[in-house]
Symmetry: C2
Subunit: 455 residues, 2 copies
């Protein structure tokens, strides 16, 4: 595996020696490994078409540098040739005053597209769509459409999904795929190649995660983005959706791990930036967890009388956190996949209550057995009331694991209801929540069971 | 948002009243909500082409029931019409002896494809590929190829990526896209429409996660699967890759939450199955966490002398777990995205050591401040040696957070090196690992700092 990867890499290097003919993704990888100025110089020497192709790759890191190092006329020409969504992303990285100057020199059509695209919030369909759509009126034939596609192909991000518009209102009537077009009768009206009565669409504010679910459900290659009047303002393509899914999964995983999403590859992010993303949540959790010390202080008398109880504090607390972490990860994914909605919270509660009780009963039984075995084999002496101690630990586990499952499964709903990202219900967050309550549950159980004997 | 979703749903319901013309994904959703027997009966009444289209959807849940309820000749006809990868999945769900009977009656070509596909392990490119590929010899022109595509379109999963083969060896020479074909000169040789010198391919054993990374990097719509002799044995399409990415993210999230992957939607899985997936890890972690009780027993003398130390046990343990959870989620994602490789472990260690020290210093300082403020404001009395107690807590935090970051970041590498899934390095797993060691670190620090005073 490692061996093969090295071979591939060697071949790729040979390929990109020829910047003009290597696969553009490999060229980008090669350029990313170089100093930004060197990359800019190399791109400056390439013909326009190839330079545009490289700049159009979202993976290329030094696009702002390239534009800054080129004569302004050339920079404008390259921007105009790029897909509008990538040109927009590039321009946000260019510093002022160059940015305004470039914008001012762009042709009105591109400038318009760029300023529109820049206005959509990150993570929305509007932010990942491009404005270069193939659209034809309903009055055209299949043959007309195919001829049109051949003419405009170079300047469109996708030609596999064609929007058919009402010739008067320019509203979207239907989408047809290239696949159906090339097998249809060229003399037939273009709508004859359409399949379903209603095209799948999104709006510019549709969440990219929601858009990704549509791609998955309907096996789409592209989806038109429409405004309120059902006019097509852009199109989201499957390659951007794949990047969005990877990005969202990474963000969710990092949030679930108990930190802010990095938004940059782990090896590339600066040390200080990473500290900021990690220290914030770590401190917040630490402050929350301080309540455990307060809870412990509250039960100080019980602690002094029955030190044997302290032996099981870590065991009990962690079990609550673990069951909570399981429940949370289940519900975060179910929400992300659209398997459950916020209004289903009570259905989930009805599943998690028996789950928590069953899991708590299992762990509680193991805990009682552990104490009994150690006591009877003489491995440790839990005192004359060891049976009651074992019972306290068992009952405590039952209560805490149940509480962990319930709060772990409800927290993502609560966060979503309050407008936060449910993925912020991280494993450490749930553990902290359960730790504090868990201590109170444990000591309360102890007071009930052990009062009159140890306490 | 909720409001709009409800409207959409009502429209969808109207559509699927007409099973024949609604969008197939909506029809499948509708059928999944019904009893399997009813769904089977409805499909039995549809024309072959539509029935095949529905059975071809991986989201359709009752396909085995449908096949079992149909006359065997019709079942065989539908299977032969389905894409080979879906027919294979369907047949694995059909019970014996019906399965063997169906296989025996299939035409040799389909039977061959099915038995080949069934042999690839889950999660491999072989398991998600289909065998219906459009391939043409290098000797054909663009026009020949387009005519061929029009003829075979109906029986191929994708026609957007065409494999060009050596006419003698049948080895893959190049891939061309439909996009380039329809804009190329029909009289030119088919290879004139190819772009790069080397096609992107996978082997049947390539991991589906690795394949997904290729789709993301090279913006692919499909990738040919080749054998050792570079002969095309199948093709993986982007819709299957999207499903695979969703599936892998869900599996990773659930594993990271400290359980086995469910492999079924949360609301659909049976209670007992879910218990099995959750109880296993929960018990394993519980048994591991029992070592904390052993560690506490070991430090019993110190505990009795200085009960004040117990107050901070939950706080200190959880901080180690939290920093470990952050580091683990970072590294699991970086490994999944291919940002770091196993051989980079020492680079990561060199980043995590200073990260852990910095984060530990921050939390340690907050801890010392907390104790000092409480003491000086008279909120709680930590005894005459409170400064030493604060120092113990602060130093303990520094050590434990550093240890948490280091072990949390190294565990995924270790698991991957040993051949396990790095995502099994769950937040609860890391927390358990750090809890036990954390207690030992804390008490060791206490012995050094407090010996002669409290201890």
């Amino acid at each position: 595996m490692e061996e093969r990867a090295r071979d591939d890499r060697a071949e790729i290097r040979d390929d990109v020696l020829n910047l003009e003919h290597g696969h553009v993704a490999d060229v980008v990888e090669h350029l990313n490994d170089q100093e930004p100025e060197d990359a800019a110089e190399l791109i400056g020497k390439l013909p326009d078409e190839r330079a545009i192709e490289i700049l159009d790759q979202p993976e290329f890191e030094d696009s702002a540098e390239v534009v800054a190092n080129l004569p302004i006329e050339r920079a404008v020409a390259l921007l105009a040739g790029m897909s509008a969504d990538r040109a927009t992303d590039l321009l946000t990285e260019v510093e002022e005053p160059l940015r305004s100057e470039l914008l001012a020199r762009l042709d009105p059509e591109t400038r318009n597209a760029v300023s529109h695209l820049a206005s959509y919030p990150e993570g929305s369909a509007g932010a990942i769509m491009t404005t270069e759509v193939v659209s034809v009126p309903t009055t055209w034939t299949v043959g007309d459409t195919l001829r049109h596609i051949r003419v405009v192909e170079k300047s469109r991000e996708t030609i596999y999904t064609i929007c058919v518009l009402d010739p008067k209102t320019r509203a979207l009537v239907q989408t047809v795929t290239l696949r159906r077009l090339i097998t249809a009768d060229p003399a037939a009206p273009v709508l004859s190649a359409a399949r379903y009565s209603k095209p799948i669409t999104v709006t510019p504010t549709t969440d990219q995660e929601e858009a990704a679910r549509l791609f998955s459900k309907y096996d789409l290659l592209a989806v038109p983005v429409v405004d309120d009047a059902y006019r097509v303002i852009g199109i989201v393509t499957v390659d951007d959706i794949i990047d969005a899914i990877f990005e969202e999964s990474t963000e969710d995983a990092q949030k679930f791990g108990g930190m802010e999403a990095l938004d940059e590859p782990y090896m590339d992010i600066s040390f200080l930036k990473m500290m900021k993303k990690r220290a914030g949540w770590l401190c917040a959790l630490f402050l929350g967890e301080m309540l455990t010390a307060t809870a412990m202080q509250h039960f100080e008398t019980e602690l002094e009388k029955a030190i044997v109880l302290t032996l099981f504090i870590p065991l009990i607390m962690s079990s609550g956190g673990n069951s909570g972490s399981q429940a949370t990860s289940l519900i975060i994914r179910a929400l992300a996949l659209g398997e459950v909605k916020v209004k289903d919270w009570w259905r989930v509660a009805l599943r998690e209550l028996p789950s928590g009780l069953a899991l708590g009963a299992i762990l509680g039984t193991i805990g009682i057995i552990r104490i009994s075995v150690w006591q009877m084999l003489g491995l440790y002496d839990y005192g004359p009331h060891w049976i009651l101690v074992a019972l306290t630990v068992g009952t405590g586990l039952l209560g805490i694991v149940t509480f962990g499952s319930m709060s772990g499964s409800m927290l993502p709903f609560l966060l979503k209801r309050l407008g936060f990202d449910p993925a912020s219900a991280s494993a450490p967050f749930v553990a902290t929540l359960v730790d504090v309550t868990g201590l109170v549950i444990y000591f309360s159980v102890a007071v009930v069971i052990l009062s009159g004997t140890l306490l």
